[in-house]
Amino acid sequence: MLCLNPYEFQGFPTMSTNAKSRIVGAPVPRKEGVDKLLGRARYVDDIDREGMWPGATVRSTIPRGFIRSIGFDQRIDWSEFTIVTAADIPGKNHVQLIFSDQPCLADGIVSHCDEAIVLLAHPDKHKLREAVAAVRIEYEPLPPVFTIEESERQDVIVWGSDNVIKSFLLEKGDVDSAWADAVHIVEGEYRTGAQEHLYIENNGVIAEWSEANGITVWGSLQCPYYVHRSLLAVFNLPEDKVRVIQTETGGAFGGKEDYPSTLAAHAALLALKSRHPIKMVYDRMEDLAATTKRHPSRIRHRTAVDKDGKLVAMDIEIATDAGAYSTLSSTVLSRATLHSSGPYVCPNVRVRARAWATNTVPYGAFRGFGAPQAIFAIERHMDEIASVIGIDPIELRHRNFLHDGDTTATEQVMRDPVILDQLLDRALRESDYYAKRARFAADNPTSAVKRGMGIAAFYHGSGFTGSGERYLNSLAGVDVTPEGKLRVLVANTEFGQGTNTILTQIAAESVGIDYDNVIMAPADTGIVPNSGPTVASRTSMVVGRIIERACLQLVGMLREHAGLGEQFTSEEFFAASERYRAAHGQVVSLCHYEAPPDIFWDDQKYRGEAYPAFAWSIQVAQVAVDTVTYSAEVEDFWAVQEVGRVLNPVLAGGQIEGGVAQGIGYALYEKVVWQNGHMANNQMTNYIMPTAEDVPPIHVFFEEIPFRYGAFGAKGIGELPHDGPAPAILNAIKDATGVGFHSIPLLPEDLFVQLAAREAVEEPAAL
């Protein structure tokens, strides 16, 4: 069947890209797409194992306290059940991540609601559910801490000696000496709330134990080797006795970066004790209550501006709510710090950042990883500065943008082209920004629906921060299977974002064979090397580059040792591979990560090349605020970005659109409601994400500047689009209503409070 051009349909945006080559840059169909469309892709809950039992978790009902006793209701025949507590853990009772403060099962004390204390397994899932309710845990409560402010007061210490999980100080120039000469000083405080990943497939794993093989885990997860490393510690096993296999994964967005390490340990503990395969798949309420979310934040800006509207000094204070354990909070805080001063030049910058412990579920990785919080603050603040000093917000940005050769807050020199002015001009043109603003300004005074336009300008650092990629030292490559397929060997996982497709495109193009002749090895620690986690927008740029090099190395090997010619067909390539196999046993080519030569980072001073590359974006939101219902609606949205080379325009467009939709949810819909430390709205009925009727047309445009050290010129793309919608939307609401809102999510009740208050002042009741 021919798929007719959908772009001809009215109302559809077109997407521009200047892709040229054969496979890379082409809209080849998703590698595992047919399986997904036929319903035969196997997600963890679709898998059955002989003799498998379901497992379940008994969780804390208080936010903080000592566990005084664990009782079992006599009406249940507990001999039928496998029961696991912290006492059953053969190795270390912690989830191995950056630090090891989080227990795998609470032992004597709980630090947040819904913390796992007891694990149960039974062949009948209905009896299991009754049994969970029949475990009685008695506590001696301790005073909890729920907010950044309570944690900062340090009246109650809930983590370490001071509640501070991590702090950073970044300093450039001399901020303190800048205030005296400033023409304007603008201050602002900005807040962001927690956000749920709301992947449609909940967290789930299957674990199996055998004397011969140790532990095998199948699961919905992003990072097989994170889970592997964590299980080694919990079970005190050698590396070859733990095997982790990713199953088809129904969305992740960071939410399956660290949590699967905990869940896999739980299922494996039950499997070890019961000697049955154990399946633990959370239902929606348990997933929402017990797993990680985006860190709430409070960010304060104090900015000095000169008479020409140039930024002279930025003093930034970042506080994040980390929850009960450290998880990834230190690196999230790092990324927030490194994105907090925006894509602007400023000679004097100071960022003081702290992650504070509280007694809620630990916050973790979520698309953007600290950047959306930081960019919300700086991009709202830029509009506030523009308002105070009386210039156009577009003009203020043009005057302060980074350009080639400028330095960032970490004194990283922009060696690669920076085209922010060009991106902004294009965004204004595509959105018809000025004409619309003028029209709305004319119409708004007489209309109950107030319309406005808002923008956000930002970068997102691609790959791990600073020295991260050097420490990871990823190993990846390709082999040729006996069935005659080139196979990509990586631990990087597909969870919708396109890993399978992009990496097989890169391999096919690098070797010079057909796309259909390239397959992915399963993301199985028993088969693939540790090519690092699937996070930080690193897979295409960093791992793709290793695959590109491994493919060229393989072609070189075959030319040197197996008579492969300069020009060859797919058939000649595989024939040469078989000659090589006959002589050497296997056909495999692996490479380690190679850092670009000019990357230097000082972890102590927080100075240097924070990221090997930056992706750049301008987003424009058109918003309508109904002053009768106080609802705000995004009517239209434009996203213009430079992400290096676009490797697959359909997948790249899908990443941008999906990220924008999540960002719209972050701004206007998605609110986690807390009740005594427990998520009160842990259902899809009352945690609201944008639906098909809420998402506006999203117009996506790419400018492509190939990045020298990325695979075929690629930079990171996945997280970038989530960074901008919230500030762009709130800036548009300010344009529409004249009121600058400083916190998200911004629900109708929040709009009502401020807009109605203003109306009350403006329109005193007639006497």
Binding site: M1, F9, L37, L38, E657, A661, M689, T691, A692
Partner: protein, 167 residues
């Protein structure tokens, strides 16, 4: 604990099925556990996300909210019944080409909702597509490419109609 069991008969994707189960068992669980048709997914268990959408007697239902008792005698269609003789359904082809599926977990339900929409309205407007898919949540795509896929499938239908007329 013994539960009342019932023997129930219905067709799934055109094939006769009979199951002996608790009549209050969810249709979703009967499809997935008793008939091993795991293409239909559970996302929320409360009728909000639409991942478990199937067609029952020509209506779109959330199979997590349907006690199997209600399916007695019904004709049920699941994602496994869309492709025929190894050829993808036009909607499946359009989703593949246009990028309508990313992680794929909402896709089976989304395909059933789109099938339902096009069965009653072969050439929907954009507003009708949005409304027709409003009960199916997708967290990956922002829906844009799903809409494009439905438009492309509808256009394919139209070109098939024209080809039929030309003959």
């Amino acid at each position: 604990m013994s539960e009342t069991q019932a023997i129930l008969h219905f067709t799934v994707n055109g094939e006769n099925c009979s199951v002996q189960v608790s009549p209050m068992k969810r249709l979703l669980d009967v499809l997935r556990e008793d008939l091993r048709l795991t293409g239909t997914k559970e996302g929320c268990g409360e009728g909000e996300c639409g991942s478990c959408s199937v067609r029952m007697n020509g209506e779109l239902v959330n199979s997590c909210l349907v006690p199997v008792l209600q399916a007695e005698g019904a004709d049920i269609q699941t994602v496994e019944g869309l492709a025929t003789s190894g050829v993808l359904h036009p909607l499946q082809q359009a989703f593949l080409k246009c990028g309508g599926a990313q992680c794929g977990i909402c896709t089976p339900g989304m395909l059933m909702a789109a099938t339902q929409l096009l069965s009653i309205n072969p050439h929907p407007t954009m507003a009708e597509i949005r409304e027709g898919l409003a009960g199916n949540l997708c967290r990956c795509t922002g829906f844009v490419r799903i809409f494009e896929s439905v438009v492309a499938a509808a256009a394919h239908d139209q070109s098939s109609d024209q080809a039929a007329h030309a003959r």
